[in-house]
């Protein structure tokens, strides 16, 4: 297992270098000139040239990438064009907020999604099942920005229960977390339901019932454990999506997170921040995937990496 994890970490590193390359070259392809953005439309040609040289933008593309990669391995992600503060500092200041929001959303989605999915599978075709399936369909198709605005309107403006923007205590977290969890919750319900349905039809579930095991144990010990691998995989994927996709929610709720930082950076052509943010999010997604694989191999030992003797 140890060997497997080390091997996977090496692969993760290679993946990150690959991601960094893609981000770097894609940003080059994007229209817009950082120097022009910083100096404004009426900048002089001399001023622009001087700034480009200062930012190193006059160097050939490959040599700039090499410099970037070299710095990256030394832990230096560059300096923000806008604030002139190190990218690592900017990310350190915003990432905890994003992580907090994503974890909260994921916790809501799992705590509600898994039991609801199980219930639907046990009572397939019942009224509960039909209502939930309809709700899931709606939740998947709701645009986040609209849902966010409606939630703010209802719970913040009409009822006045929760603050509508900013980061603070638990009360500030509720509305953005609920908004963001909606989609993942629906996906988890659907995945749990279908995975459970498949397992419940298996012979060994009938065989377990035939042994006189209480239905509770049949469902939560045998069926759930067998149904869990796809559910956990989807939870991992959703978690990655939440980390990277918090942009809209963070913007609506003025949540000082990485997503909002990146949107601002994109508008300002602040390349170092964009690269740093993308790398951070991909690193998290890659680590989550690794973590999911390890959990799954404990749930289903036959998924454990084969040890060579």
């Amino acid at each position: 297992m140890k060997e497997f994890i080390i091997k996977r970490l090496v692969v993760c590193l290679a993946l990150l270098v690959f991601t960094s390359g893609i981000t770097f070259f894609l940003l080059e392809l994007a229209p817009g000139d950082p120097a022009l953005m910083m100096l404004g439309q009426d900048a002089t040609q001399e001023g622009l040239t001087a700034l480009r040289r200062e930012m190193g933008l006059d160097q050939p593309l490959l040599s700039r990438y090499a410099t970037f990669l070299g710095d990256l391995f030394q832990g230096d992600m560059g300096v923000s064009y806008q604030t002139h503060r190190p990218v690592s500092q900017e990310i350190a200041a915003t990432f905890p907020a994003t992580l907090e929001l994503s974890v909260a959303s994921m916790v809501i989605a799992i705590i509600i999604g898994v039991p609801v999915g199980i219930t639907c599978a046990i009572r397939q075709y019942s009224l509960t099942d039909r209502v939930v399936r309809f709700a899931v369909l709606i939740a998947v198709s709701l645009p986040v920005f609209w849902l966010g605005l409606m939630i703010i309107y209802l719970f913040s403006i009409v009822l006045g229960w929760f603050p509508s923007f900013g980061r603070g205590g638990l009360r500030h977290l509720v509305l953005p977390a609920v908004t963001m969890s909606c989609y993942s919750l629906a996906i988890i319900v659907r995945m749990t339901r279908s995975s459970m349905l498949e397992v419940l039809r298996c012979d060994y579930i009938t065989a377990t019932r035939a042994k006189g095991i209480h239905e509770f144990y049949v469902i939560y010990k045998h069926a759930l454990r067998n149904a869990l691998v796809p559910v956990i995989t989807i939870i991992g994927l959703q978690f990655g999506v939440l980390l990277g996709g918090a942009v809209i929610t963070e913007t609506i709720f003025a949540w000082p997170g990485l997503g909002r930082l990146m949107v601002q950076a994109i508008f300002a052509r602040d390349y170092p921040i964009i690269r740093g943010g993308v790398l951070m999010i991909s690193a998290c997604s890659i680590l989550i995937t690794l973590f999911v694989d390890i959990i799954c191999s404990y749930i289903n030992p036959s998924l454990k990496p084969v040890e060579k003797s």
């Binding site: 009938t206 065989a207 377990t208 035939a210 042994k211 006189g212 045998h222 030992p301 036959s302």
Partner: protein
């Protein structure tokens, strides 16, 4: 070789199924998978149910344990008297107490009937921990004893294995060990050897026979294989399209098969020493269970079918003591 039928008195009836009907709802209509089955067996006896795929024999077994797959399947009517108690009217809680404890079941495919994620020792011990409230350690020790009983080599090591680490034969032995763990008085074995190699089949059947003699457990042996039934059962019921078409003691049935379906089944077995270019087959196919009509379900495939066979279903009549048959040919014996 047949085991001599032991003498029983009336009180020794272990299971008596009367007019059992199990239906499954489908989009196309109600399927009568089990359509008025009667079954009677005495303590210590082994009864065989034989028939083609889809004739309702497995569903009969599941109905006795009240494990008909929901939400579409349900027992519509009938009595299942087990030790004088009607299982059809028990509530689910009492049924759970009975399953695995009084009546156990062995399933057809040992590859899919064991939970792939749990060690086999845990799976054998599970019902004992529930029914007999054994501790984890006691259950483990009992599991080792049981594996020894069913002939699994080095059981102390095997109990930690997951099902995918065992061969098919070993898995079926594990299933048997699990079924016998709470010393049930009845084991329903649904095609216990169908998914196994022929050599392993023989071993498992031999094991069932030996376990039956050692533990005195009654078996309902469900199979499509007349050879398996002949070797192991004292009494046989032949099922066709959800109904029992012939029922007799094993020797009587093989010596004197009456129903055209039974004779058809027997003729379709290849015999050593009899040279034949083609094996006899029953013409036609198993009828669509949704479209059985009013008459005898076998009449479209029957060589002796007459006009009235297609109009009215024949009753089950006793032709000679202990030998019942559902065919118009024998109704004039009444």
């Amino acid at each position: 070789m047949y085991v001599e039928k032991p003498q029983h008195n009336e009180n020794d009836t272990l299971l008596c199924v009367r007019n059992l009907k199990t239906h499954i709802r489908s989009d196309a209509g109600e399927i009568r998978v089990v359509d008025g089955v009667d079954l009677q067996m005495k303590r210590g006896e082994t009864v065989g149910i034989v028939g083609e795929s889809g004739c309702g024999k497995s569903m009969t077994g599941l109905s006795i344990l009240r494990l008909v797959p929901g939400p579409h399947g349900r027992i519509v009517s009938g009595e299942i008297l087990f030790n004088g108690q009607d299982l059809a009217s028990l509530d689910e809680k009492e049924m759970v107490r009975l399953r695995g404890n009084e009546i156990a079941m062995v399933f057809q495919d040992p590859m899919t009937s064991l939970d792939p994620l749990f060690a086999v020792g845990d799976q054998i011990g599970e019902s004992m921990r529930f029914h007999q409230k054994l501790s984890r350690k006691e259950a483990r020790n009992r599991a080792i004893e049981l594996l020894k009983l069913v002939g699994v080599p080095s059981p102390e090591l095997r109990i930690k294995d997951r099902p995918d680490q065992l061969s098919g034969g070993l898995r079926q032995r594990v299933m048997l060990a699990s079924a016998l763990s709470c010393k049930p008085s009845l084991v329903i074995a649904d095609e216990p050897t169908t998914a196994l190699d022929v050599t392993i089949q023989a071993q498992i059947l031999e094991l069932i026979k030996q376990l039956r003699e050692e533990t005195g457990t009654s078996f309902i042996l469900i199979s499509h294989d007349l050879g398996v039934i002949a070797e192991n059962c004292q009494h046989v019921s032949v099922m066709y399209a959800g109904k029992i078409v012939e029922s007799a003691d094993v020797r009587e049935l093989f010596d004197n098969p009456l129903h055209p379906y039974t004779t058809g089944l027997m003729e379709s077995i290849p015999r050593i020493g009899v040279r034949k270019d083609r094996l006899e087959a029953i013409p036609g196919i198993v009828p669509n269970p949704l479209d059985l009509g009013e008459g005898c379900a076998f009449s479209p495939r029957c060589s002796c079918s007459e006009e009235h066979c297609e109009q009215k279903a024949p009753p089950l009549v006793e032709v000679c003591p202990g030998h019942e048959v559902r065919c118009w040919k024998y109704c004039n014996h009444l």
